[in-house]
Symmetry: C2
Subunit: 105 residues, 2 copies
């Protein structure tokens, strides 16, 4: 399995994306803390975190018996750069900003 395959497979599951959302909101959480936010057993969450870690989307730091989880944005940026060149980026961000401001009315 290639690196980018691991990243995209990891992102394919809604529970794993939710875990990334949680870490985006606040970094450095333990498995047990994250587990309380999902309707799933600890084993399920641990499995998902492992997939995210092997994909490099989450990096961990051990502290005693705890394992702290952090979001790594670099693979996300690389997805972006794969299909959006510098030129297109300007158009796309402008379009999205426009869409946003229209929806806010």
């Amino acid at each position: 399995m290639t690196d980018d395959d691991r990243v995209f497979k990891a992102l394919a599951d809604p529970s794993r994306r939710f875990l990334l959302d949680l870490l985006f909101a606040r970094d450095g959480r333990t498995l047990t803390e994250l587990e309380s936010e999902l309707e799933m057993t600890r084993f399920g969450v641990a499995k998902h975190l492992r997939v995210l870690e092997e994909a490099g989307l989450v990096v961990v730091r051990r502290s005693g018996r705890e394992k702290l989880h952090f979001l790594n944005p670099i693979p996300i940026r690389q997805i972006h750069d794969r299909w959006i060149d510098k030129f297109t980026e300007q158009h796309v961000t402008a379009l999205i900003d426009l869409k946003q401001s229209l929806e806010e009315q």
Copy 2:
């Protein structure tokens, strides 16, 4: 299935990512033209293109009996914006540019 679920599921397959790569290099191709680039039957490719289309990653235009496929970068940008805020973006792009220039030596 939610919109973003469709996008991430669509991106989870290497053949579909390769199709996006092909369309990123050159837009407006037909099924038959794309098929010739993959080691897979037409049916397989058609199925993949349909998944990409339903995810909004590819948009199509009919022209007679041909169906032309175009890459839509907007969902990709939205993935980026979900986990990378404006502040982090600067750091991340700087890091990636640095990594690039180091690898070129």
